[in-house]
Structure formats: structure tokens, C-alpha cells
């Protein structure tokens, strides 16, 4: 163990260690079943799920839901210095600083924001899990090597790491996604590795080995599926962080430069200059980010409680 950020890691490891234990009273049910059962009775989890679902639907059907085109500058002629047209007939939320329909931009923006959040989280998840499986399945020097690498990435504060990657890759939406994913890789890797180490020592894994089951079969058929629950929880929470992080990078000028794709983070960043003229330009995209992040967080927290025996009530 190295000196760096022990707590960050201890917390990750602690979560990992509690993976896959069934709460009392749900014996005989699979972990997934038991979790689903608890979530369905949980109003907070349902609230989170509904929020997420609503935004997903909005994103999926944006062209049908948006009253106007998000890029056309309808009200350009009405813009004067110090005046941006507000709510009016046909423009429920008014226009932005370039005369585009704010509501339509918010609706289309959900696509890009959710896409960035989902893609970057999936990317971080896949790479992190690969590293975690390598470390957790092989142990020994592979484990040491992978974990040292992970520690190095963890030794740079998240946003600074994202900035570094983003500057390196240039300014486009893929760079943005990769930059956010890189920050998440070490978290997933550590989480899965810790969880797998615990599972590897458990009775059923030992039993499988005693029965002569092939190692790859033990790892992929038994240990891995049972180690996944903390990773799934983290992924849900990461979706919230990713969307907020994307907004931060946009604000720093590292966002997607394509104006044809409105994005909440960029809209929020852009609104700074017009804050005293029309605060609504900042408030609406911020509200969208907060509500979506809240949705994912609520869902993730309750998922953790449902999957984690320590929280049984």
C-alpha cells in the first residue's frame, strides 16, 4: 500500500468488500431479485428512476417534442444590447443571446448531455473493469502493475486529469467523453478488483476450485458476476458526476465546439456573459443538469442500499 489517498482507496475497498452479501429475510432470492423487490417499494428510488426515464424519453424523442429548430435564429432581429427577448407567443422560455428558442435548445441539449454522460461512463466502466478483472483474476505482478498505474491516475485531482486529457486530444465531443472516462477508470478498476478479491476467497469459489473447475470458468462464471454490484452502483452515481464534469469542461472552453449540437454545459457556460440581462439563460440549463444528476444520484444511492446488507432497514 502506498501513502497516497489511502482514504479514497479505503472507501472504495470497503464498498467492494461488502459486495454480494444477501440481506437477511431475502434468503432464497437472487441478489438482483431481492434488490429489485426493495427498489420497487422505495419511493425515493422510484423518484430517481422516473426523473431519469423522463429525461431519456425527452432525449430520444427530441425532434418530436421540441417546438422549433434548436439552431435557427428566430428572434435575432429583436435582440438589442442589454435586451434578450423573454417568454412570448411561440417561445415559452424565450430566446437565447443569438435569438434561438431556449426550450428547443434545452430539449435537444438533453441528447448531447446524456450521450456524453452515458458514453463516458460506459467507456470508463469497460476500461476500468478490464483492468480490475486483470488485477483481480491474475493477482501477483499483474495486480501490482495495474494498481500502481491506477494509483498514479488517482494522484491527480479529477478535473485536472480531465483537463490534461482534454487538452491533449483537442476540442471535440469524443475528446470530452474520453477525458471524463479517464477520471472514472481508476475508480471502477479498484472497486472491481477489491470486490473480486473478496469473492475469490469465498467458500463457493474455493469449492469450485476443489471440484477442478477451470480457472477462467471460475473467474468469469462465478467470481465476476458476484462482484459486480458495487460497480453497477458506482456506474449509476458516475452518470451524475459525468454530466456535471462535462459542464465544467465546457465552461473551461474544452467542450464540443459544434454549434449544431446544443449541450447544457455549453449553454450554461455561455450564459455567464448575459447573467445580469437574462439569468434564465443560465438557470434553465443548470436546472436540467441538477435534476438529472439528482435523478441518477437518488437511484444510485438507493441501489447501493438495496444491494448492500449494511443498509438493510
Amino acid at each position: 500500500m502506498t501513502a497516497l489517498g489511502d482514504y479514497k482507496r479505503e472507501r472504495i475497498d470497503e464498498l467492494a468488500a461488502r459486495a454480494g452479501q444477501l440481506p437477511e429475510g431475502d434468503a432464497g432470492l437472487s441478489l438482483t431479485r431481492s434488490a429489485v423487490r426493495r427498489l420497487r417499494r422505495d419511493p425515493v428510488a422510484i423518484t430517481g428512476a422516473v426523473i431519469v426515464l423522463v429525461f431519456l424519453v425527452v432525449a430520444a424523442f427530441a425532434p418530436l417534442l421540441a417546438p422549433r429548430d434548436p439552431v435557427t435564429q428566430y428572434l435575432l432581429s429583436e435582440i438589442r444590447p442589454g435586451l434578450i427577448p423573454g417568454s412570448q407567443e411561440g417561445f415559452p422560455l424565450g430566446a437565447d443571446n443569438l435569438g434561438r428558442d431556449l426550450l428547443s435548445r434545452l430539449i435537444y441539449g438533453s441528447r448531447q448531455s446524456l450521450l456524453i454522460g452515458v458514453v463516458s461512463t460506459v467507456l470508463g466502466l469497460v476500461v476500468g473493469m478490464t483492468l480490475g478483472v486483470l488485477a483481480g483474476a491474475f493477482g501477483g505482478w499483474v495486480d501490482t502493475l495495474v494498481m500502481r498505474f491506477v494509483d498514479i491516475i488517482l494522484s491527480i485531482p479529477g478535473l485536472l486529469m480531465a483537463i490534461t486529457v482534454s487538452v491533449l486530444l483537442g476540442q471535440n465531443q469524443y475528446a470530452l467523453m474520453i477525458a471524463i472516462a479517464v477520471v472514472q477508470v481508476p475508480i471502477f478498476a479498484r472497486l472491481l478488483r477489491g470486490s473480486m478479491l473478496v469473492q475469490r476467497g469465498s467458500d463457493y469459489a474455493v469449492a469450485a476450485r476443489a471440484l477442478g473447475v477451470r480457472k477462467s470458468r471460475i473467474v468469469f462464471g462465478h467470481v465476476l458476476p458476484n462482484s459486480l454490484s458495487p460497480v453497477i452502483v458506482q456506474a449509476t452515481l458516475s452518470l451524475a458526476t459525468a454530466i456535471i464534469e462535462a459542464a465544467a469542461l465546457s465552461y473551461l472552453g474544452l467542450g464540443d465546439p459544434d454549434i449544431a449540437r446544443p449541450e447544457w454545459g455549453a449553454m450554461l457556460a455561455n450564459a455567464q456573459d448575459f447573467l445580469s440581462i437574462r439569468p434564465a439563460l443560465a438557470v434553465w440549463p443548470a436546472l436540467c443538469i441538477i435534476v438529472v444528476a439528482l435523478g441518477f444520484t437518488l437511484l444510485g444511492e438507493r441501489l447501493r442500499e438495496a444491494l448492500d446488507p449494511k443498509f438493510r432497514r
Partner: protein
């Protein structure tokens, strides 16, 4: 204890070496390489070749790396293209501002967070409790810079109660000793300068401190709720100790251990958040400088600042580890 500290210091070496490789590779991997980064996109091939020769960039990578490492150890990260001054000099000039800001943000987060979390736990299920839970959820979900916008708009622009940009009023001609503006004002007995610098810190510190505040409230609340149900609290109550004594000696003390862990964890968050907060408030610390370096593609600054901030982060974490070793003897053994 000393052995514990020395061992921890040695364990930093591989991390810092790894970081240096990462940043070295980063600069190499830039489109067009460091020469293009320094000379701009329209540099002629001759100019690039000349630059490469001048800075030894035509030598084998391994030689270059060790030269980079040698310079990095002496904290020489080259010259900023924006300021035409050594990166380290710029860093040392700007960093005190960020330290002041993060310290005040932390004071705010701890000073408000721990009492609030404690009260919420004591009145478990009350309105205050629910409000603190909801508030801390929103506090984590809100983009830092949006909160900064709002604070600035309300308290600086609309109400005019507090200054909304910079580190000090430009009309104040303060003497600089340490570049910690508040401290400088106190040292030189320029009270108005110190006061003005402090006022400039308040809004950014609140914006920056909000996320740690939300986290601290949550952890304190959860931790107090855990401890209240411990056997030793019941024992203390059973043997007739005064409620205040039980609270002070048994509940608060034990509940604060996980909280101190969390506080250590927040450093990275604060350094990240400083980039955003400082930009909104045009507060001249390392965060604003980093943001400018992004805008102007000042790679020397970016590279040097990020490495130095990572070192700071690593060292703060080390300090937290050590202090934890002091608080909890079990940690020293591992």
C-alpha cells in the same frame, strides 16, 4: 511514528515518477510536438528543426526524459509563453491566493457542516434533518460554477454587499511580502488592505466550499446516527453520565473520526473546484491561471501547474495520513 512518516515519504517516489512519465509522454504526444506547441501552428519546418535542436528534442526519448526529470526535480518547468517568465515563478506568485481561498472554503465547509450535520442527527426525522438531507443532495448535484454565478449576481452585482471579482481592490496599493494578501496586510499593518482581501475571498470561498459542505453534513449526520446506537453510548447513559458529557466525550469524539477522513478527501475536490470558482470571480490564483493557459494553449504552464498541483495533492494526502496515524494508533502498524 518517525519511521511511519519516512516509510510513507518513500512510498511517494514511485507515484511521482509515474506522474513525471505521464506528463512527459503528454507533452510528446501533443499534435506537432512541443516545438509546434511553442512556436504556433504556422511555424515553418526549419524553425521547428531549429527549435528541436536548441532544446535537445532531436535526441533519443530516453535521454530527453531524464533531462526533463532532472529539471523537474529542481522544479524547472520551462518558460510560460504567456508571461515570458519561468513557470515556477508564476506558480509561486499565484498559489498563495488559491491556498487562502481553499482554506477559507474549508473553514466554511467544516464550520457550518459539522454543527449542521450534528444537529440534523440529533433531531433525526425533523424538518431540519430532512432539509439537510435534501440540501446535501442538491449541493453535490449543482455545478460549482453555476453556484458561483448566482452568488456573484446576487451579492456582488445586485445587492453590492461584497466584491465580486479579483483578489483585492485595484485602488489599494498594498505591500506584497508573501503574496498571501490577507497575511501581507496583517504583517504590514495595512488593516484596510487585509480587510479588503478578506472580503474578496468570501463569495468565492462559499461557492467553492459548498460541495465539501454538502458532503461533510451528510457524513457527520450518518456518523453521529451510527455512534448514537453504539453500546458504549448506552453504557455511558446507563451509568448516569450527564447528557452533555456523553455527547461531548462519547458521541462527538467518535463520530468525528470518519468526518476527518472525509475532510482529507476533499483536497482534490477543492483544487478542481478552484479552477472553476476562480474563473467566475476572476480571482488570480492558480485556477484562473490554468484556465488562461487552456485558452492560450500555454503548455508549459499547463504541464508545470498540473504536476505541481498533483504534488501538493499527494503531500496533503500524506499529511492527512500522518495526522490519522496520530489520531488512531492502529493505522501506524499497517
Amino acid at each position: 511514528m518517525l519511521r511511519f512518516i519516512v516509510r510513507r515519504l518513500f512510498q511517494l517516489v514511485p507515484i511521482l515518477l509515474g506522474l513525471s512519465v505521464l506528463l512527459f509522454a503528454w507533452l510528446r504526444a501533443l499534435p506537432g510536438g512541443p516545438a509546434q506547441a511553442a512556436l504556433g501552428e504556422r511555424a515553418t519546418p526549419e524553425a521547428i528543426a531549429q527549435y528541436n535542436e536548441l532544446f535537445g528534442l532531436d535526441e533519443p526519448l530516453i535521454v530527453q526524459y531524464f533531462r526533463f526529470l532532472g529539471r523537474a526535480i529542481t522544479l524547472d518547468f520551462g518558460t510560460s509563453t504567456q508571461y515570458g517568465r519561468p513557470v515556477t515563478e508564476v506558480f509561486l506568485e499565484r498559489f498563495p491566493g488559491t491556498i487562502e481561498l481553499t482554506l477559507l472554503a474549508m473553514v466554511f465547509a467544516i464550520g457550518v457542516g459539522i454543527p449542521l450535520g450534528y444537529l440534523a442527527a440529533r433531531r433525526h426525522g425533523s424538518f431540519l434533518d430532512s432539509a439537510s438531507v435534501v440540501g446535501s443532495l442538491i449541493g453535490v448535484a449543482i455545478p460549482v460554477f453555476f453556484l458561483a454565478y448566482l452568488l456573484r449576481l446576487l451579492f456582488a452585482v445586485e445587492l453590492g454587499w461584497l466584491p465580486g471579482s479579483g483578489r483585492q481592490d485595484v485602488r489599494i496599493d498594498a505591500t506584497r511580502i508573501t503574496n498571501f494578501y490577507v497575511l501581507d496586510g496583517l504583517l504590514t499593518r495595512e488593516w484596510d488592505a487585509a480587510w479588503d482581501a478578506l472580503l474578496h475571498l468570501i463569495l468565492p470561498a462559499i461557492a467553492l466550499g459548498t460541495i465539501p459542505l454538502a458532503i461533510i453534513v451528510r457524513i457527520t449526520r450518518a456518523s453521529v446516527l451510527d455512534v448514537v446506537n453504539e453500546d458504549y453510548v448506552r453504557t455511558a447513559n446507563a451509568k448516569g453520565l450527564a447528557m452533555a458529557t456523553v455527547r461531548r466525550r462519547h458521541i462527538v469524539r467518535n463520530a468525528l473520526l470518519p468526518v476527518s477522513t472525509t475532510i482529507g478527501l476533499q483536497t482534490g475536490l477543492l483544487l478542481s473546484g478552484a479552477v472553476l470558482t476562480e474563473t467566475v470571480f476572476a480571482f488570480g490564483g492558480v485556477g484562473l491561471t490554468l484556465r488562461d493557459a487552456i485558452t492560450y494553449r500555454d503548455f508549459a504552464i499547463l504541464q508545470g501547474f498540473i504536476l505541481m498541483l498533483a504534488i501538493v495533492y499527494v503531500l496533503v494526502n500524506l499529511l492527512v495520513d500522518i495526522s490519522y496515524g496520530l489520531l488512531d494508533p492502529r493505522v501506524r502498524v499497517r
